[in-house]
Every structure is written in structure tokens, then in C-alpha cells.
């Protein structure tokens, strides 16, 4: 529009909207809720998947985790039917076989025992993790007191252990746990350190799905001491008998020097192991792969939530169009007067279009404010993590502006196409 400053037209638009405050607010409601729900839904979706991804990421994207699994019945049965011993899982020898694979920087082996740990009169069912001295470097844990066992402890199979802080508090309610004695099974160990777990519960060492949930109460001992003092055979009692198992290692983590090597290395790992494992007694977990899967799921989730919210924006837009059409009818005489006083069609179109856009953008701004605020409330009361991302805000706001333009054109055209004489005669 030549000569007339856009600012003046916008001012004019706001002015006539303010004249009907109630109607303008009601008109904007559709857009407000649309924008608000787009942002809030995406924030909740983002938050939910973020938690899952964080848990996976803590497993380490450079890591490949191998776990021993009990092979299906029949395949794993030993020849001796009288004394049934399931002999399965990763072996100590596997460590060296895998360490030489290209790209492997570190290996970490674990043997997990579920046992009662006693100190004085206190007894707590624990997860005893027999591991290697460099364990703290490869997992999320933080030493609070003392230190983790070292290579010498491991080499000499010393009876030393490190407790998690929550377990230390249970076993030694009044005295200091450090340098205290605990009895694991029938063997006495000396406490040389206390640590705190920082990883999420589901990424902590577990003794395999068959043995249930992981515990908060963990005891760490040298792998060598574990093999020497606690053995590798376990008996599991159940109604009418017992199972005997012989497992050398429960878990073996391979850390690669670079993320790019991880996925390509998986077939190599399998072929290196399959030469020595005649039954499927281990599983390969690639956190990176899980991460990708989680991201794919998240994308689908976002698309679904986004489309639902998008439809509500569309409905909001139709609401605006409806009201603007009514407004055009109501202001027919004003349009006629403006035309008589020299307004061209284009100028009338611009004026009504701008009014719609101001409505949509105004609604968009309020919607953004609510959409950013709502996740905060959800986070506080529903204890769900939410993340408001900038793209979500821009997307929602952009759509609302677009809705303003699209649904503003028709009413504006209707307004401009009125015959000035007819419009003036309108009461």
C-alpha cells in the first residue's frame, strides 16, 4: 500500500480490536489454546524421551555391553542328568579375546553375587559386584571416603570391599564404616571405601533379568577375590529342588575409542565369541542403537502430538475467520464510509487482513506464554520432566501467524468487494 505506514495500519487494527475487548479475547482463545497445547505437548514429549535417552546415554554411547544369559532349556543342559549344573555365560578368557578387537580401548568384567552381607548384628541382602580396579573410571560413581581397590588388591586377591553410601549407613548405623569388617557369605572383607552411585537405577549392574531387579545396596570387591573366595558356582533353591549354575562373568563392557566404531564392531564381537560359545548364552547391548531407537520413537511421538495440536490451531483459525466474517458484516457501513472517503480496495483488504493477523499473533503470544508456563506446572505437580524447546515455540508461533494470514484473506476480500453504495446504505 503506497504511502501509508504499516505502523499506522497496525495501530488502527489494534484500536478497533480494543473497541471490542471481550470479542477479541474470545476470538483469540482458539489460537491461544492451539499454540499453548502445541508447546506444552511437545515439551512433555521432549521431557519424557529425554529421560529415557539420558538413561541410555549413561550406559555410554562408546560402549558395547555383553551380558550372560541363561540359554533356553535343552540347549544348555549338561550331560549329567543327576546333578544338573547350568554352565553358561561369558568366560574370563573372553576378556582377552575381545580386548584385541580393533578400536577397543577398555574392557571391564563383572561377576555379580546376590548374598546376605552382615556387619555385627545387621544383615542386608545385597548385590555383590566382583569387578576390576578400573571400574570407577568406566561408570558413574563418585568416591566419598577412602578409595576403590587397586591393582595390587586385585592381584593378591585381598579381602577388601567398597560399599555404597546407603548400604554403609544400614550396616554401620552408629560407627564409621571405613576400616570396618563385613561378612559376605562366610568370608570377612575389610571396607576400604565408600562411594555414591550417580547412574539411574536401571543402568546399574544387574545380575541378569532372571534374577530380578537391581538393588540400591551394592558391594564392590575385586573380581579375583570374588572368584577365589565366593566361587563361580551358585545354588538357587526353589520348591522341590535346586538349580546349580556355573557362571564366570555376568557382564563385560567394551569401551571403544570412538563412537563411530561401535556399531561396525558388533559383528566382529559376535564372531569372536561364537567360536567359543556353542550356545546362545550371551546378549549384546549397544546403547548407541537403543539411543537411535529412542530418538525414532520420540520423532513419531512428536509428530502425533504435533498434529493433534496443529488441528486445534486450525480450528482456532477457523474461529478467527468466522468472527472476522461477522465483523465485516457488522462494519459494512464503516467500510462504505472509508471507501467513499477515498480508500481503495487494496487498502481495505490490508486493513482487515492486518486485524486478523494482529488477532492471531496476539493470541500466539499469549499462547506461547501459557505454553511455556503450563509445563512448569506439570513438572511441579505431576513430577514429569518437561523441556520447552525453541523450535517448538517458533513452530507454534509461526503456525498461528500463518493461520492469521490464511484465514484473514477471505473476510478481507469480502469486505473489499462490497459495493460502496450498498455498504453505505447498510444499517
Amino acid at each position: 500500500m503506497k504511502g501509508i505506514s504499516l505502523l499506522r495500519v497496525v495501530q488502527l487494527g489494534i484500536k478497533s480490536l480494543l473497541l471490542h475487548k471481550m470479542r477479541s479475547v474470545l476470538t483469540m482463545l482458539g489460537i491461544i489454546f492451539g499454540v499453548c497445547s502445541v508447546i506444552a505437548m511437545l515439551a512433555i514429549g521432549e521431557g519424557a524421551s529425554h529421560e529415557a535417552q539420558e538413561a541410555i546415554r549413561k550406559l555410554g554411547s562408546r560402549n558395547v555391553i555383553l551380558r550372560s544369559v541363561k540359554p533356553p532349556k535343552g540347549q544348555g543342559a549338561s550331560d549329567n542328568k543327576r546333578i544338573y549344573t547350568a554352565n553358561y555365560g561369558l568366560k574370563l578368557a573372553d576378556i582377552d579375546r575381545l580386548a584385541i578387537l580393533p578400536g577397543v580401548a577398555h574392557t571391564l568384567a563383572k561377576r555379580i553375587y546376590r548374598m546376605q552381607v552382615r556387619a555385627g548384628r545387621e544383615a542386608v541382602p545385597c548385590q555383590v559386584v566382583a569387578t576390576q580396579p578400573h571400574h570407577p573410571r568406566l561408570s558413574q560413581m563418585q568416591m566419598i571416603e577412602g578409595q576403590f581397590f587397586n591393582a595390587m588388591d586385585s592381584k593378591h586377591r585381598r579381602n577388601v570391599c567398597v560399599l555404597t553410601d546407603s548400604l554403609a549407613a544400614k550396616l554401620f548405623p552408629i560407627s564409621n564404616a571405613l576400616d570396618g569388617q563385613v561378612k559376605i557369605g562366610k568370608v570377612v572383607f575389610t571396607v576400604i571405601g565408600i562411594l555414591r552411585e550417580t547412574a539411574a537405577a536401571d543402568s546399574r549392574p544387574g545380575a541378569g533379568a532372571a534374577e530380578g531387579e537391581s538393588l540400591d545396596a551394592n558391594v564392590y570387591i575385586p573380581l579375583t577375590s570374588g572368584h577365589a573366595r565366593l566361587g563361580i558356582k551358585t545354588r538357587e533353591l526353589f520348591a522341590g529342588g535346586y538349580n546349580r549354575e556355573r557362571v564366570e562373568l555376568h557382564e563385560l563392557t567394551l569401551q571403544f575409542t570412538d563412537v563411530d566404531q561401535v556399531e561396525a564392531a558388533v559383528p566382529g564381537i559376535r564372531s569372536a565369541l561364537d567360536r567359543f560359545h556353542d550356545k546362545p548364552d550371551y546378549e549384546v547391548i549397544v546403547p548407541l542403537e537403543l539411543l537411535r531407537q529412542a530418538e525414532r520413537t520420540k520423532r513419531i511421538f512428536n509428530i502425533v502430538l504435533g498434529s493433534i495440536a496443529g488441528i486445534s490451531l486450525l480450528v482456532g483459525g477457523i474461529g478467527i475467520m468466522n468472527i472476522m466474517l461477522a465483523t465485516v458484516t457488522e462494519r459494512t457501513r464503516e467500510i462504505g464510509v472509508r471507501r467513499a472517503l477515498g480508500a481503495r480496495r487494496r487498502q481495505i483488504i490490508t486493513q482487515f487482513l492486518l486485524e486478523t493477523i494482529v488477532l492471531a499473533i496476539g493470541g500466539g503470544l499469549v499462547g506461547v506464554a501459557l505454553g511455556v508456563g503450563l509445563p512448569v506446572v506439570v513438572e511441579r505437580f505431576a513430577e514429569m520432566k518437561t523441556i520447552v524447546t525453541l523450535p517448538a515455540v517458533l513452530l507454534a508461533f509461526g503456525i498461528s501467524a500463518l493461520v492469521g494470514v490464511i484465514f484473514g484473506v477471505y473476510p478481507a476480500r469480502r469486505a473489499a468487494d462490497l459495493d460502496p453504495i450498498e455498504a453505505l446504505r447498510h444499517t
Binding site: G3, S16, A340, G342, R344, L424
Partner: protein, 237 residues
């Protein structure tokens, strides 16, 4: 009568096409209006009065014939060109004032200039001057709803003059007013006329016609009777 013609109509016809029937509203009108005259157009309903007003106001185009406004033939201009002509050369005064409710008095006066791209900040003094001229210098921030009918019509008159038009076209300007207010408005028109403005009023009222210098009576789409008083006579009466 040596003044130049400001409006010249030649064989002007207007026929409304109502689908099957064609309704003639104007049937070949010839009319000259000189600069500075005060014209009253009169006639019963159906005489073609409104049609003539619409065409004179460039709100409608004649079916046939020519309409010269100033030196320009505006009879077959397109919509945008007619909008510009209305904005620059014609001042409208309506029976029902037709002010814009959401604008103040001053902003209402400014509207015709707005559509020519002239900003209120630049035209503030000009608009204020006109507000004072019609006696509303102290009401410039009021809204139309806060004014009486007579005051609203004064705002409309100021608005009609803001673009320094060739003529002011008034459609029953006192039709909604009581007789004392009517007199005030007619006095205002007379003042403007005395200042040399061209004013064309469409009216039913004989007393309005009495104060005009040039009376045109229409009947069935043709001029029935035309009276031109000498210019001085209008000023005296």
C-alpha cells in the same frame, strides 16, 4: 455567470439491470454546475435523486453519457481511479454523519488524508484548524458517541473539507437534526459557500432550497425545473 464549470453532465443515463427487467433511473441528464455555487437537488423518491448523487460522488458509474469533474472525464474510470478522485476532489457529508466510532474527532477529520498516505502527525495543524472552524476545537479527543448529533455533523463537515475538495456533496445533511441544530448546520454551509466553496445538497426540505443559489428539481430521471439565482441574491436571502 462567467465562472467556469466545475461539473458538466452530458446526456447522462443510468439503467439498473434487475435480471429480466431494466429499470431506468436517469434518462439523459444535462447539467452544468459552476464553481462556487450552492446547489440544491430536489425531487420525490424515485425521481433519480440518489442515483444522481452516487454518480456525482463517483460512487457509481453512469450507463451512458459523460461526466466531467473539473477537466476530467470520470464517467468510465476504474475502481481505483474513482477511489482516488473521491479522496482528492470530493467531500462527503451524510445524513447519518457516518463518523468512525473508534476514532477521535481529530482522527475522523484526518481519514480522507490517511488514504492518500498523509500522516496525522504532519497534518495535525490542518486538522485542528478545521476542528476549530466548525467550533469543536476543544473536543478533538472526544469520540463520536460522546457528541450530539449536531456536533457529529460538524465533524463530518470538517472531514469533508480536509482534502480541499472541488465540491462538498451533502446527502440530506440535516435530515436527522432538530430545527435549531439544522439552522446551525445550514449557517455553517452558508459560511463555507460565502468563502467560495462549491456545495451540492440533496434534500427534501424547501427551506434548504431557499438558501441555495441553484435549485435542480428532478422528476422521473429527468430535470423537471432548474432555477439559478444570481450569486448575489443567494448571499442576501
Amino acid at each position: 455567470m462567467s465562472e467556469k464549470n466545475i461539473i458538466r453532465l452530458e446526456r447522462l443515463t443510468k439503467t439498473y439491470d434487475m435480471g429480466e427487467v431494466k429499470v431506468p433511473a436517469l434518462r439523459g441528464l444535462d447539467l452544468d454546475i459552476t464553481e462556487g455555487s450552492h446547489v440544491a437537488i430536489m425531487g420525490a423518491s424515485g425521481s433519480g435523486k440518489s442515483t444522481l448523487l452516487n454518480i456525482l460522488g463517483c460512487l457509481d458509474r453512469p450507463t451512458n453519457g459523460r461526466y466531467f469533474l473539473g477537466d476530467t472525464d470520470v464517467s468510465q474510470m476504474d475502481d481505483d481511479a474513482l477511489s482516488t478522485v473521491r479522496g482528492q476532489r470530493i467531500g462527503f457529508v451524510f445524513q447519518s454523519y457516518n463518523l468512525i466510532d473508534q476514532l477521535t474527532v481529530l482522527e475522523n477529520i484526518h481519514v480522507p488524508l490517511f488514504y492518500q498516505g498523509r500522516d496525522l502527525t504532519d497534518e495535525y495543524d490542518h486538522c485542528l484548524e478545521l476542528a476549530c472552524l466548525v467550533g469543536l476545537g476543544d473536543r478533538i479527543d472526544h469520540r463520536p458517541k460522546q457528541l450530539s448529533g449536531g456536533q457529529q455533523q460538524r465533524v463530518a463537515i470538517a472531514r469533508a473539507m480536509v482534502n480541499s475538495p472541488l465540491m462538498i456533496l451533502a446527502d440530506e445533511p440535516t435530515g436527522n437534526l432538530d430545527s435549531s441544530t439544522e439552522a446551525e448546520i445550514l449557517d455553517l454551509f452558508e459560511d463555507l459557500h460565502r468563502q467560495g466553496k462549491t456545495i451540492i445538497t440533496v434534500t427534501h426540505g424547501e427551506h434548504v432550497a431557499e438558501r441555495s443559489s441553484h435549485v435542480v428539481r428532478l422528476k422521473d430521471g429527468l430535470i423537471d425545473q432548474e432555477t439559478r439565482a444570481p450569486r448575489s441574491a443567494a448571499a442576501v436571502s
